[in-house]
Structure formats: C-alpha cells, structure tokens
C-alpha cells in the first residue's frame, strides 16, 4: 500500500506539471528544455571526476581489498560478536554504490537474506551513503578545493550510523 503510494509519486509530479503546461500562461515547455540542457552540461562536466573515482574504485575491488579487510579484522569481530562477513560491505560502502550492492548480494547468497547477518547487512546498506562519492561529486561540480569539515563530519556520521545499525538492527532481528 505504502509502496504503491511511493511508486505513484513521480508520475503524480509529472501529472501536476502537465496541468501547468496546459493551463498556465507563464509556464512553457521552453523552461523544461532549458533546464534539461543544463542537466546535460552538468553531467559531462562531472565526467572527468567520475573517471578518476571509478578507476580508483575499480582497482580497489579488483585488488581483493574487501576480502583482505574481512580477514584482517575477523578476530576482532569475533570478540565483539559481529559477523566478519559484514566488514567488506562496511569498508566499500563509502566509496561505491554498485560495489557495495554487489557485496550485499554476496552476503545474501552466502549467509542467507533472512539470516541475522543478511538482516544487519541490509540495515547497514540502507542507512549509509556513499560518502566519498557524494562529497567528491558535489564539490568538484563547483570546483571547490577547501571542503573544511565536510569529510570528517560525514565519516563520523557514517561510523556512528554503522554502530547504530548493528545495535538497532540486531535488536529488531532478535525480537522477531
């Protein structure tokens, strides 16, 4: 029910706009075309940044970094009672959305989507964002070099979110 309402949101916005296009004198399709044109410019201006980022992320996934992190920290994880299978996901998440989705799928396949680990992985992925990617794209779009406390604040937020996701998610899973 709620899912249906959400899926109707975008068509509803477009429907509203189509009424404006039909009945309002001040709104013409030209403003859509101009705006869309600026979207193209922005996309292509960002391409060089994306190339650099994607090359880095692609190297990182190919190098076996996620598995290495998992192996390095698994003794520590066992002591605190967290499944080490979550670690690659946590470490790749800030860099790459597609990379972390692939890792999430592999957690689903290896541990089961309805296992405790699968559940926690979902909560972690759902409540965190690709911090480095977002920051890099936003600031390189306007050529800003001094980003001040953006990255520390965003990374600290993500760290707290991951801890909360494990605690809150674990509580919800155990409760049923």
């Amino acid at each position: 029910m709620i899912q249906l309402a959400f899926s109707l949101l975008v068509p509803a916005v477009l429907l509203l706009l189509s009424f404006y296009l039909l009945f309002s004198k001040s709104v013409s399709v030209d403003s859509f075309l101009l705006g869309a044109r600026s979207g193209i410019d922005t996309s292509f201006r960002l391409l060089p940044t994306l190339v650099l980022l994607m090359v880095g992320v692609s190297m990182l996934s190919a190098s076996g970094f996620p598995e290495l992190i998992g192996r390095l920290f698994s003794p520590l994880c066992q002591r605190v009672g967290i499944d080490a299978a979550l670690l690659p996901l946590i470490f790749i998440r800030p860099f790459s959305g597609s990379g972390s989705n692939a890792l999430l799928l592999s957690v689903y396949e290896q541990n089961g989507v309805d296992s405790r680990t699968g559940f926690l992985a979902s909560v972690i992925a759902g409540s965190s964002e690709t911090v480095f990617y977002v920051t890099a794209v936003y600031f390189s779009a306007v050529h800003i070099k001094k980003t001040r406390h953006t990255l520390p604040a965003a990374l600290l937020t993500m760290a707290v979110t991951v801890v909360l996701a494990i605690l809150v998610g674990g509580w919800f899973y155990d409760k049923g």
């Binding site: 706009l17 859509f32 309805d114 699968g118 936003y138 050529h143 800003i144 707290v160």
Partner: protein
C-alpha cells in the same frame, strides 16, 4: 580533494593487491573503471535531463516557492545564508524532499544545481560555504522514508520478510541525519567564534 581520495584508493589497491597476489588484475581494472565512468554518465544522462527540466518547470510554476515557504522555518536554521539570499534554497528543499521520498536519483541533480547557485554567491570561490558543507554532510546521511532499491534487492534474493528492515533503517538513518546536521553546524559555528 578528489585527488586525495584517488591517491588513497590507489595506494590501498596496490598494497592489498600485493598481499593477495592479484597485481596482474589491476591493469584490467583501470580500463574497466574508466569505461564504467562513461557508461554511468550516459545511463544517468536521461534522468539528469528529466529532473533538471522538471525542476525548472516547478520553479516557473511557483509550486516550488510555495513548498519552500512551508519549509522555511527549518531551512532558515540549517541553511541561513541560502535562506536569506534565496540563492539555491529551492534546490536544497527539492533535494532533501527527493531524498526523503525515495527518489534518490533526483536528489543528486537538485543538490548539484543548489551547489552551483550557492557557488555563484560564494565570496571565497575555492572554499566551501557553511551551507554547502551542511548540504553535503546531510546528503551523506541517507535519510529516506522507504529504501526502494534495497527492498527490491531483498525481494529478488528471496526474502520472506523483505520489509522487516524498513523500521530499523528509518530509525537509524533518522538518527544519522540528526548527527550529520549537528556535526555540520557545530563545525561551522566553531569557525565563527574563531577558536
């Protein structure tokens, strides 16, 4: 800053490739990454066009001004400069709403337009303004009411209770958003008092 992120990625890759003995895979990964940046840009191009166009229609029609007026009490606190000058505040409102409502692919173009508007009035063009930092940190906390992509992935993986994660995700990401705003604004305040 992109340079620094890239360097960290590169060094991490080399060290872990050395440890796992996968050095030979790196060069293919480089080419693949560069190609993927292009496919990503192209596959997002249509959506960038659509949402930037829709945004300018919404602005022309006055719908956005009304939405903004509604949200002003909150926006003024979080983005004081943009709220006062009006530069980029409508785009910020749209980006946050898009994130909340789960239209994540629209949030990015809106936020980028907001950054451009704010940059136009930035007295120090190579340094982020308070509002830019707040917007970016908030976008890095993934607050949304319904994580549609994730639910689709859980369904596809054959979950019996795919939606069981919705409530914990909402709670955690709401807490994350509050923390993000606190950290972003506290960082801005520290500078103003000159400590």
């Amino acid at each position: 800053m992109v340079g620094r992120i890239f360097s960290v990625l590169c060094i991490l890759s080399f060290v872990s490739a050395l440890c796992t003995g996968r050095l030979s895979l790196l060069s293919d990964a480089v080419l693949e990454g560069a190609a993927r940046a292009v496919t990503l840009t192209l596959s997002l191009l249509g959506m960038m066009c659509l949402w930037c166009g829709v945004l300018s229609l919404l602005q022309k029609s006055g719908v956005l001004t009304r939405l903004c007026r509604l949200l002003m009490p909150i926006l003024r606190r979080l983005f004081p400069t943009a709220a006062e000058t009006g530069e980029g505040i409508e785009e910020i409102a749209m980006s946050i709403s898009a994130n909340l409502l789960g239209v994540g692919n629209a949030a990015t173009p809106f936020a980028l337009l907001a950054m451009e508007k704010m940059q136009a009035k930035n007295p120090e063009p190579d340094r982020a303004t308070d509002d830019m930092v707040t917007l970016t940190v908030l976008s890095c906390a993934s607050l949304n009411l319904l994580p549609t992509t994730l639910l689709a992935m859980r369904h596809a993986a054959g979950s019996d209770r795919a939606t069981a994660v919705v409530l914990p995700i909402l709670l955690v990401s709401a807490a994350g958003a509050v923390i993000a705003l606190l950290l972003a604004r506290l960082g801005c305040r520290r500078r103003r008092t000159g400590c």
